[in-house]
Symmetry: C2
Subunit: 400 residues, 2 copies
């Protein structure tokens, strides 16, 4: 038969994902590329018990179709959890999504005309770029904190703005309170939706959390503001449940619900019921200190190893939270797309900066994960990465 | 703030869904509109036990991120279940989706350029129209079985063709083997993908199942044909698990996997593991006879009541499977969109034909569900519907 064509956007991908996938076959590889959690942190016995109980006690909710926007009790629980005195949230402010990723897909559907514009904190979460690619958007990169950055100019006329203010993926950057307020003010001035994606908010290792942009948008009345807040249980409990949520103005929740109806009809009732009970029983809050303690120690182990092995060749800042260290090569000859291939030969995998660049041109940066591996593996991985960088630079010939 | 606009497609909806939702508030309403299963058919104790065991025994698979395309063991199980001597399927032929609905969304993403054409069996499943609306497709309605229907002309140049050959939603129609073969031959001749959506295949009450179009496409070698087969556990086990699957050529599975990555990253590992064990332990096959027996008796109860109360005003055929009776008004003055509102006043809800018409113009037909309600409620609902139709026709004045 004639081979039919796929839609145009399908060709707008690079081969880095293929390289990642092939990496899974390499024996003894140290994977510092992904954003995977440490599985021993999952409260397995408690979740197993909850899973059986919700099916047994409430089969209609666990095994039936859920309302498209989510189980009312779970929407209420999320609303209560994120309410503050200035931000009284109700059920109509909450949509349950199939993982945090689905919220990004739904936002693209309801807000992006073909070739619409996104003002995106740059570099940007790879998954967000994946989610929006079928709508073929144009990007205005927002380099938050850069000299002369003008939030109003950045947001004006965009379909929406996108930021990960807490320990951004990939950079680990914490967006300060004044910057948060400036983004909110720009959203209000320009009438542009402001997406606050917050998967890492609870993973803060050195300080108390800063106020959410959503919280700054509270006015004391029913919430109807421009901030669209995205949360997920993937980092706080377990990714296999695929439970995320959106908090937004009721008209935005209604629009996203229409889009969700045609995307997966509803999120698993079983998983929603487990999430509800995990919140109600305090399970989610109970495990956070262990998660923070373990990840803080791993961050420290990675950064100490980097100090020892990489301080001459890379620049980075110690992240105050999240899952990643973002580093930039001092030598402009180092191409981090090329480094990935050499690193795999040295038995370590990192994520090259190009995949996080909405314009796809960055070849100087890389992202290193510290949550998945124990300290000894992080140290060994760093040693291997240093070897790979040396090999890359040696292959470039003498420095100019 | 200025109210930002939503994407254009968001305005392309009718208000029937709102009417349905409001119907949930009416006391003693008999809901014959939806496509809901009978909850007492779910094997609750067995699923509760499986849920606890898969979390306890295999937390990495149940609680971690799954591979995007699905857990390998579940893909293998689906491949084995649908293989025939002429159709040896492998893991690369299978994608796990978050319910059957997600497969429709992913197909739209990978195949539809804006304003692309879909050759759709007409009337068409409402959810498919929902899933494709964000890509703003144009429809070529295919009235299978109509005089002079030419499959080759229908498929040529379309992005894909869509059919529900087993007890189609909404019509309950069974597409015959010769028609199946003709659609397959047209797909081969024209190089057009042919989507075989099969949620009701196991719900056959009177005869042995006909061969799947997918099976007809088997050539004895590794499968690389034009048929894209969609299945789901929502009718065979429980909808709350949100487990569906696609069986297709490996290049189509790869494309859909790329689209799934940006849609919800992966389907819940917990739900996938429950599905896998439910297949392995024979649970899915064990409950099918009970499901068929119960639904057959309800179909018979509904059709007997319709014979008694509606034979003068509606035409219909007794469906040989599925969940619905499709009926058409004899009197051209009966508007079934208007009937829905009057029926709600009479305490019964049905689905008007307009929502299943890709062109949105049908006002003569309606869909009646028989799986959710016990026989006495089906009889009472039919009596109420007859009253509503009489009231509608009386309001039209004397017949011409």
């Amino acid at each position: 038969m004639t081979v039919p064509a796929f839609a145009d956007w399908m060709s707008q991908t690079n081969d880095v994902t293929e390289v990642f996938l092939a990496a899974g076959q390499i024996p003894d590889l140290i994977n510092m590329a992904g954003g995977l959690p440490e599985p021993t942190l999952w409260p397995v016995a408690e979740i197993a018990d909850l899973a059986a109980r919700v099916v047994h006690d409430d089969p209609a909710q666990a095994l039936g179709y859920s309302p498209i926007a989510g189980l009312p009790a779970l929407r209420d629980a999320i609303a209560a959890r994120f309410s503050t005195p200035d931000l009284p949230l109700g059920r109509d402010n909450v949509l349950i999504t199939t993982g945090g990723m689905q919220a990004l897909d739904l936002l693209g559907k309801v807000l992006l005309e073909p070739c619409g514009q996104i003002a995106a904190q740059s570099p940007t979460y790879l998954g967000a770029l994946d989610a929006w690619r079928p709508r073929a958007p144009a990007y205005r990169p927002m380099v938050l904190g850069a000299n002369g950055f003008d939030p109003v100019a950045a947001l004006r006329g965009a379909a929406f703005a996108y930021t990960v203010p807490n320990f951004s993926n990939p950079t680990g950057r914490l967006v300060g309170t004044a910057e948060r307020a400036a983004l909110l003010e720009a959203a209000r001035q320009t009438g542009t939706w402001l997406v606050e994606d917050d998967p890492y908010g609870t993973l803060c290792y050195d300080d108390a959390p800063l106020p959410r942009i959503l919280s700054l948008a509270g006015t004391g009345g029913a919430y109807d503001g421009p901030v669209i807040y995205l949360g997920t249980l993937s980092k706080e409990l377990a990714p296999g449940l695929r439970i995320g949520w959106v908090i937004a103005a009721p008209r935005m929740i209604a629009a996203l619900t229409t889009a969700k109806q045609g995307s997966d009809m509803c999120t698993s009732g079983l998983c929603q019921m487990i999430a509800l009970r995990a919140f109600e029983h305090g399970l989610v809050d109970r495990i956070q200190p262990q998660v923070r303690d373990l990840y803080r120690s791993r961050r420290d182990a990675l950064c100490a190893a980097m100090d020892r092995h990489l301080s001459g060749v890379l620049d980075w800042q110690v992240p105050r939270g999240g899952m990643f260290v973002w580093a930039t090569a001092r030598d402009p000859r180092l191409d981090t797309d090329g480094l990935l291939r050499v690193a795999l030969e040295h038995g370590v995998c990192i994520a090259p900066g190009s995949v996080f660049d909405p314009l796809g041109v960055d070849r100087r940066s890389l992202r290193i994960n510290f949550t998945l591996n124990p300290p000894d593996r992080l140290v060994e991985g760093t040693r291997r990465l240093a070897g790979a960088i040396s090999a890359c630079l040696a292959a470039c010939g003498p420095s100019l």
